[in-house]
Symmetry: C2
Subunit: 282 residues, 2 copies
């Protein structure tokens, strides 16, 4: 069984970015991400710490715009609109969901593709749908593709079953896999025989958001399993959508949780911000 | 074998629209489509004649903006931008592909969702991807869903194989079917075993653009086949992607070509223009 760790994938992305970042610095540009956070939810703060560490280590900037939970809609919209216009900001990440009193409607419609580093806006959703190679996909969905490519797992003509149809993983990863010439099946809670759909695949992408739901009954020998889940099990430990101990005994290759897909996400975010910076000088 | 004719589906859409159109007329509004045509390609003219006839019969308007093939990019962009602003226009259809000297780039990015009756623009592609129920899907893709619903073919938990991954049919119809709770597999020219993928499905949507490619070897008893193909065979006759004579002997239900999906498309277009008109008074 091959353990598909995220770290070597992230390291490779970082290495490839280093000369690009150096070149930008020579031109007086420091790739900089603006994080828009309303309130201070613990999981947002944890993700923020992780990305700050990554951006720091790569000598890129992070500006955090912390807004109180009772911020007005207008102020939130204006904050993002100003960042979108600010030439020193090359990417924007806004934590969602927002408090119930607020909507992301205006932001989603107006954010520029080039600064929308995690694909929350209309422009990048359309780019993803069109498959035109412009803009950015959601970072986690892109991380799945980066892992498959890094480990040389061929996608052309392969059968991939995606479990989950969310806007941030299931649907975007399906579109990206179709573009990579895979034959893609999208499954979800209403799928009649999920076990059969998973067993029939060469590659399974588990993005259902349900702890350890993919058990040994869903897999067979020779498969590759990419686990996008981020759940907490009964004992309070981080775990994926895949029952790793059972499934890893059968599969050809598998990503662990933690140390799998999640380890690649912030490097993809960094890559998108650097791309935004390159375009800003271009 | 049930023959899934398009006409009863179109008739039902038209019947449902009649009171809505009457109500709009009372308010002084005639639902009106603007057709933007560069040059005079024979297939565009044929489609235009068909939709004029349909809109006439429903007492709705069609305005044709015919532009010469050597029109400037600026004039084309301005033509569409002006229609987008014109309160008497409720939908816009532009024939594509454009001549090679022109691009639809600006139009795609700027056309309003509410007037983009055939989903050529960014806003409606994003709506389709998000599955938020706003905007319009491409008319032909929507026609597939209308046919399935009209004939009471349940989609929930059903396995649907879509053959083709185009921007106007394959990808949009896949997203719409996922939203309808079907388990959807998208196949294309790189799919390793297309016959097996088709045989495994409850419903096949053939949108490959290759005359009669779905033969009896691709199907089994009990299936529903929706043929979106519009091709011309060796004898010069209109035919679909499905070898109808062979396949119809086995399947439970099938759409013919002609008289199938194509017969529903202009009614879907009309529906989208009427929706645009309703929103304009709302």
């Amino acid at each position: 069984m091959n353990l598909l760790l995220g770290k070597p994938v992230a390291d490779k992305i970082n290495e490839d970015l280093k000369p690009v970042i150096e070149d930008l610095k020579k031109k007086g540009v420091t790739p900089t991400l603006a994080v828009v956070r309303v309130g201070a939810r613990e999981d947002d703060l944890a993700y923020e710490r992780g990305l700050k560490k990554k951006f720091d280590s790569m000598e890129c900037g992070v500006v955090v715009m912390e807004l109180p939970e009772d911020v007005s809609q207008e102020e939130l919209d204006d904050t993002v609109a100003n960042l979108d216009k600010d030439p020193d900001i090359h990417g924007i990440l806004m934590f969602r969901p927002l408090p119930k009193t607020l909507t992301d409607e205006n932001i989603v419609k107006s954010i520029s593709a080039v600064k929308d580093s995690d694909c929350m806006g209309t422009a990048n959703m359309a780019n993803l749908f069109a498959g035109n190679g412009e803009g950015y996909a959601p970072c986690t969905a892109q991380a799945v593709i980066e892992i498959l490519k890094f480990y040389g797992i061929d996608l052309k003509g392969k059968k991939v079953t995606v479990v989950g149809r969310s806007l941030v993983i299931g649907k975007p990863v399906a579109l990206m896999l179709i573009k990579e010439n895979a034959t893609v099946t999208v499954c979800h809670t209403r799928t009649a025989d999920l076990k059969a759909e998973c067993k029939a695949a060469d590659i399974i992408v588990a993005a259902a958001g349900k702890a350890k739901m993919i058990t040994k009954d869903f897999v067979r020998e020779g498969q590759t399993v990419i686990d996008v889940g981020m759940n907490v099990d009964e004992e309070g430990n981080l775990c994926g959508d895949v029952n790793f101990d059972e499934v890893s005994e059968l599969t050809e290759a598998i990503t662990p949780v933690p140390r799998g897909v999640g380890s690649v996400t912030t490097s993809v975010l960094l890559k998108n911000v650097v791309t935004g910076a390159v375009k800003s000088v271009g």
